[in-house]
Amino acid sequence: MELLNIFTKAAFIENLALSYFLGMCSYLAVSKTVKTAFGLGLAVIFVLGITMPINWVINTYLLSEGGIFATDLTFLRFILFIAVIASMVQLVEMVVEKFSPSLYNSLGIFLPLITVNCAILGGSLFMVSKEYNFSESVAFGLGGGFGWFLAIIAIAAIREKIKYSAVPPALRGLGMAFLLTGLMGLAFMSLMGIDPAAF
């Protein structure tokens, strides 16, 4: 039950995209159509769900003082975390290419983009600062990924529709996407006061 709380909290109340504004580069660049946004969103859920537990293991058993080296190696955290993320993305890319070419064709170009999506690294760093245990970090990873997925689908749907509106020329495209995201962020802020334990 507590894991479900962490999942809902990560997905809605602490939404990585709309409450912390992480992963904005790919969020703005790939949200022109719902179809591509869907592919990127799925890939983000996948990679967050895999890297979060691995980074948890690395942080707890290698880097912290209670780990196998018995010294505080936390200054290596950035390098190891980003190495794990980059190699996992590469690995996932190869596995998907081998076993499901159709999924690879729809995800293909987005997978390398995910390495530099700050939602992934940010998620891992948040996990460390919140001191989650192993199963909680899995729930946090999946919830965070799901929240990001929802956010990018929502903005892509709005951007598809807004093409038919009379937006001032200088504001078209990027400028409007910023204003829309700001408004969506305001809407998501109203969820902040909710206690997930109440459900």
Binding site: F75, F78, I82, L121, S129, P168, G185
Partner: protein, 230 residues
């Protein structure tokens, strides 16, 4: 101007092409408003001008040095593992920045927290390495790093100015408009525009989106050739 002096000293030419590398990212090819790179940190650290300035300096440092080192190594990096090599270079530089900031200014370090680490995934750095440093000589790469770092920093400071000025009535932590604490105790002295009540919305995340959105609007209205059709 300081950049020009550096170029003269090192004896490397500084012609039209080099100047273009430096000045292009300031407006026509700005990292944030035109290339749309590095938005995450632009939103998170712009609640105050001091944080924005620290972040801008950190990004210029990482951008210049990572461009330089990647450019030096550009002919010996195999194409398949270039992402990981680039990320290791960036992550090392960011760790240096983090530890330095922790030692020099612990207050800013605490406020910036996760976002210093997120310079690693700041798409400006990675994007410039991919688009420029992998194909150009070290000297040009350094200029490109300075240009993009400064172009990013300028936008950061503009956004931070609006957010801090209207959100807290302060600039760099100094009270400019609105009632001060002394004013509340002693009603005979008042600051300039003492009636102004701080608009807390400006300190929250969504307002950064609005400020950048409006900035892009103004920028594109001023330079219509930047407007994209999609």
């Amino acid at each position: 101007m300081a950049d020009v002096k550096v170029a003269e000293k090192s004896g490397i030419t500084f012609g039209k092409k080099e100047r273009k590398l430096l000045t292009d990212p300031l407006s026509d090819n700005n990292p944030i408003t035109v290339q749309v790179l590095g938005i995450c940190s632009a939103l998170a650290v712009t609640t105050g001008m001091k944080n924005a300035a620290v972040m801008a300096v950190a990004v210029v440092f990482v951008a210049v040095l990572s461009n330089f080192f990647t450019s030096l190594l550009r002919n010996s990096i195999p194409k398949q593992v270039r992402m990981i090599v680039q990320l290791v270079i960036i992550a090392t530089l960011v760790t240096i920045v983090e530890l330095t900031l922790k030692a020099v200014d612990f207050e800013s370090y605490k406020q910036l927290s996760v976002f210093i680490g997120l310079i690693i995934t700041n798409c400006i750095i990675m994007g410039r390495l991919e688009a420029f440093a992998l194909a150009n000589k070290p000297y040009e790469s350094i200029l490109d790093g300075i240009g993009n770092g400064v172009g990013y920093g300028i936008i950061l400071l503009i956004v931070a100015f609006f957010r801090e000025f209207f959100g807290k009535g302060e600039i760099f932590g100094f009270k400019i408009i609105g009632p001060t604490n002394e004013f509340l105790l002693d009603t005979t002295t008042s600051t300039w525009m003492g009636w102004y009540a701080s608009n807390n919305l400006m300190v929250l995340f969504p307002s950064a989106m609005f400020v950048i959105g409006i900035l892009i609007w103004v920028h594109r209205a001023w330079k219509p050739h930047l407007v994209d059709i999609s």
